[in-house]
Amino acid sequence: MTPGEAPAAGAEQPAVGEGQPAAAAPLAADPGGDGSATRRPPRVAGEATSRARTWVTATPYRLPLAVAMVGLVLSAPFGGWRPAESGAVPVTAADEVVEAAPFEITLERAYFSPRPSESFPALDPGQQYVVVLGTLTSRHDATVDATYLTRAVAIEDLPEPIDLLGNPVEVADARPELYSAQDSTSVLRVGPDLTYDIGLVYRTAADELPEELTLALSGYTWRPDAFTGEHDWRDPAVVSEVVVPLARQEQP
């Protein structure tokens, strides 16, 4: 073993206090008089640090590289090496709360009818209403326009949707009207912390309807506009899909 070299694995180290020279004792001149010098075992940590410092400072580009590598390693206990979330949209069961900021929404069931009640305008023959029932709560600190909700709900499998004028629209463009189920009036604005029983009202020209409907709910992000600095709910992104059963309206 030469000075500066780490001791071989398994080599016996003299214990301090047993009359043997300490592991950190300096290299001394021949004390035994037999021509062999007492060597101090190398400082392992000091040697590694010195080498690392030399490597890192060898060029200016190695320092930021070293910092990035250390950061990568240190991020592991904080979840930095977790697998990325898959792109699949989670599916929430009917009647369960979906948090789609700024709203909390539950969708329970849906029914179809040519005219659910007198408060609904009469439709042309062959057309009918599809009403999705649920609850809605806004957790924003001020009243929000109901269009934030109607734009955040996308129905995926309603056949032959039509608009308010009876014209066919693409299913991706079908937007519901929002009604209060308590009094069958239109809800145009939603106040904070009030849980409404709601009906999302669609119109369709289809005779045959599926037994269930799939709706995608999106949540927004509260952030300022890059140019004006004004805060608003922006960047809708799908947070969950909900499948609700669809049946003919029960007659009283």
């Binding site: 001020a142 009243t143 308590q182 904070p192 009030l194 300022p224």
Partner: protein
């Protein structure tokens, strides 16, 4: 070697300046604070002077159901029907913004529909009295204030903040009440009754 270290130092300085600039920008008050309205405090039954006229809250009613001249409404909270008189100081002034704010100032409720603010536009000096409607959770009503302005944009303008003097007893009575409240048609003119 020195040139390379110099380049790295310059890049590091730019990054540092960007970080410091961002921290400074987020730490300073934003525009919402600097553009905030001038709040004019008032009480139930007392006229409040705004830049564009005088506002007075004359009566407050609470109920779960309200009947308006056009429709009946139920709410998951409580309806707050506020009889409010505006005497405009200039032409074309009417209620453009009204809301109920919780006592801690953290929540604001406007009307469910935009028509809840519909009120005639009288000539200057002629008062108009309208019932303004809001739906508010019962737990947020005690100590709530009415915010009212004749401007849709209240930045840098006066905003009346009127204490509605709602008590816990009033809220309890309203929650137990079955008889709905009926709002009145807008009244233009009228005396001090």
């Amino acid at each position: 070697m020195n040139r390379r270290w110099g380049r790295l130092a310059r890049a590091g300085f730019v990054v540092l300046a960007l970080v410091a600039g961002k921290e400074l920008a987020t730490a300073l008050p934003d525009q919402d604070v600097s553009l905030r309205p001038f709040e004019v405090a008032g009480e139930l039954g007392t006229p409040v002077e705004l830049r564009t006229g005088t506002v007075e809250v004359r009566e407050v009613q609470l109920n779960q159901t309200v009947i308006t001249p056009t429709a009946g409404y139920r709410t998951p909270g409580l309806w707050v029907a506020v009889s409010t008189r505006l005497t405009p100081a200039q032409e074309k002034e009417t209620f453009a913004y009204a809301a109920v704010r919780s006592e801690d100032g953290r929540r604001v409720w406007e009307g469910r529909t935009r028509s809840s603010l519909s009120c005639p536009t009288p000539p200057p000096g002629v008062p108009v009295t309208c019932d303004l409607l809001f739906e508010v959770p019962p737990e947020a009503l005690v100590g709530a204030d009415l915010l009212v302005s004749t401007e849709a944009d209240q930045r840098h303008d006066s905003l009346a903040v009127i204490d509605l003097a709602i008590t816990a007893e009033q809220v309890e009575r309203a929650q137990a009440q079955d008889e709905p409240v009926e709002t009145r048609e807008a009244l233009v003119g009228g005396g001090d009754d």
